[in-house]
Symmetry: C4
Subunit: 228 residues, 4 copies
Amino acid sequence: MNWHSHSQIFYQSGSFPGSPRYGQPMNKARIEAFSDGIFAFAATLLVLAFVSPEVSHTAAVDSQLVTALLAQWPHLFAYVLSFSVIGMMWHNHHALFRLVTKVDRRAGLANLALMAVTAFIPFATSVLGAYPDTRSSTVLYGLTLTSSAIAFNWLLMHLVNTKSFAAHVNRSTINQTIHAYRVGLSTYVIATFASLVEPLAGLALYILIVGYFLIPRGADTDFVEKSD
Amino acid sequence: MNWHSHSQIFYQSGSFPGSPRYGQPMNKARIEAFSDGIFAFAATLLVLAFVSPEVSHTAAVDSQLVTALLAQWPHLFAYVLSFSVIGMMWHNHHALFRLVTKVDRRAGLANLALMAVTAFIPFATSVLGAYPDTRSSTVLYGLTLTSSAIAFNWLLMHLVNTKSFAAHVNRSTINQTIHAYRVGLSTYVIATFASLVEPLAGLALYILIVGYFLIPRGADTDFVEKSD
Amino acid sequence: MNWHSHSQIFYQSGSFPGSPRYGQPMNKARIEAFSDGIFAFAATLLVLAFVSPEVSHTAAVDSQLVTALLAQWPHLFAYVLSFSVIGMMWHNHHALFRLVTKVDRRAGLANLALMAVTAFIPFATSVLGAYPDTRSSTVLYGLTLTSSAIAFNWLLMHLVNTKSFAAHVNRSTINQTIHAYRVGLSTYVIATFASLVEPLAGLALYILIVGYFLIPRGADTDFVEKSD
Amino acid sequence: MNWHSHSQIFYQSGSFPGSPRYGQPMNKARIEAFSDGIFAFAATLLVLAFVSPEVSHTAAVDSQLVTALLAQWPHLFAYVLSFSVIGMMWHNHHALFRLVTKVDRRAGLANLALMAVTAFIPFATSVLGAYPDTRSSTVLYGLTLTSSAIAFNWLLMHLVNTKSFAAHVNRSTINQTIHAYRVGLSTYVIATFASLVEPLAGLALYILIVGYFLIPRGADTDFVEKSD
């Protein structure tokens, strides 16, 4: 047994030969729990972009304070935007995992990349809130969202290639999902390029993309038709 | 299939046609887990309002330090207040979800708004702790709590309109809850306006509202009568 | 129906009349999950006491950096101490809840107080790490741990008074626990007073108390005798 | 009953005599949940190493901002490295616990030490990101990873000594794991010493070790052979 195989065992000790539990649903549940923790925690960390103002405790403290608080409106805007983005990603993540029955190591790697991008969102958001109309901040934000879409597509394509979907998920459902994920990625690429040309145009696109998702249309057909 | 429908699939991939699991309790459990995470994280982040004092390491370090620590009492007050508020919101959130059997996308949106307000509480608290007697800080705090009550009412009304309650929940229970949620919202609106006139009056109201909930009255009738 | 009763319903909507689920184990599971989140999060926040040194990027950057890092050893000491304390509290919390079958609102209030103290530990720790040998910092630390012991005793006494223990838990077990909790509280009170007289003596006591718990004695009798 | 035995009960109230539930799987599930929380939180806290740049709002804001952002590339590198490390540790932790049926107090202590090291990673990472090529920062990083490997080995050896593995786990699997854990520890010790001699060599080793794990080789044999 050489160093290579030993080391492989070390780092993937989950694949011990003879372990009858390997690859069971628990695996999936654990990845979901880890991911849920990061989604919720990243969303909560967004608030750290706000800064408690430091104004002198004089007679005019109140007018100074109200000015300092109102000056943080771009942070509030970025906060609401990113909270919506993370909520949307969390929704998509669970919608995807609900259709899946097995998660192998490559899928775990793609998911880890997705988590790393998710946990980065609070930083991109604080820069966007501090400089809402600059090219650098809006492009950074766009690159972050584009990266999340790339990770989502990577994860999806791997799940498709390894036939990891539940038996009840038919081919047309999978094809629609693939198509939709690609449309999603393209949208973010376009919005990022738009930011490069005109920051406020990029910003408008980020809002539109999330808003499109967030506001259910029609008679909330999900609910009526599928008793969701 | 046009862009619209593709994109819709992308963002609500949970509603894949043919998915037999859609709308099952797992959905509700996930939203609860996500919400529980945010309640717990937001409560824990409250401590970041305290600042470890920086005093010179001289002979008088101890007296300087004790002065600097005692000067943070308003932060301790705000900490206890907001921890109680978040505990109360967590209690109400679970009490509501316990009665519910299905959570559709609009309910998820209302819940996301509630979470965004919850995660904002640490900032409003740190401002309140830094400036406990100003109009700006107490109004900001009141607006935050009012927003949480609005989100709770939105969520409740949607659940009522979509008949999402469990079969055992009778109409009079629902009516009492609706009434109670409206009283709660009104209370926060009044406290916020009071802060606008006299900050300390608003502050007193915030304490009273939470204290009213926190201190069980009588012989803890919940326990005696309903074996809770 | 007057304001009082409406409001009571609002804030304790869990006690809706007719709810057959009220007081069931789910309640307990939720409080445990909320508490676990705060224990884990508070423990992780301890690391924020360390400060990434800012030294000039000159030829001597390495010697400056190593000096600045080594100067933070009191923070490392406080970090290990508080991580152990939170681990111990987490252990005790679960050991207690494992014996309990119902959690009413007063128990929830006592638990919320315990959580507020737990979430405060990172601040007391960062002050202790910054000023490890002052009276103010060691007393603050002692007051924090004493508060946690008070909350634990409050919680325990309420559970005892409301007969919330599982049927298999016999009276002598409960009496031993009550006694042990009181000894624990007394120990922290003594250590806090010791800090007031001689900070380093208090510090030594904090270490001894946690060390006493952390290092299993004998042949790990838990394991041998009770196959834990 | 003397002070000693009382106190022992206090701190290990889980070992109440007569408690029939003691040592059941719930115990293990709770330790896993606590550990999962810390893995996820520590990973998310990594983002705090990035600093939202403060540049003057003049005509040149964009070029200043892009410079300030690009200057943080070492933080991005350290972020990706540590996110991968924590992901790997999380994977190993679960792979190990999946094979285990009981967790006693000493195992809990070894696990607590592992968690303390895990929660420390964000600090070591922020120092590495700020000074990517110094001896102090790379050695600090190496010592942190070495400590995690020591804690993993301690935990494993205790589980082996107390025969805590499930019945289906055969001796050769355990021996391979022991060997692999020791190889892992040796690797980190070597990388730490390399950092002492040449920081960039150490850094390269940290990347290689994690990369070796992260990139599944061959046809992802886990999946093909064991339907993981």
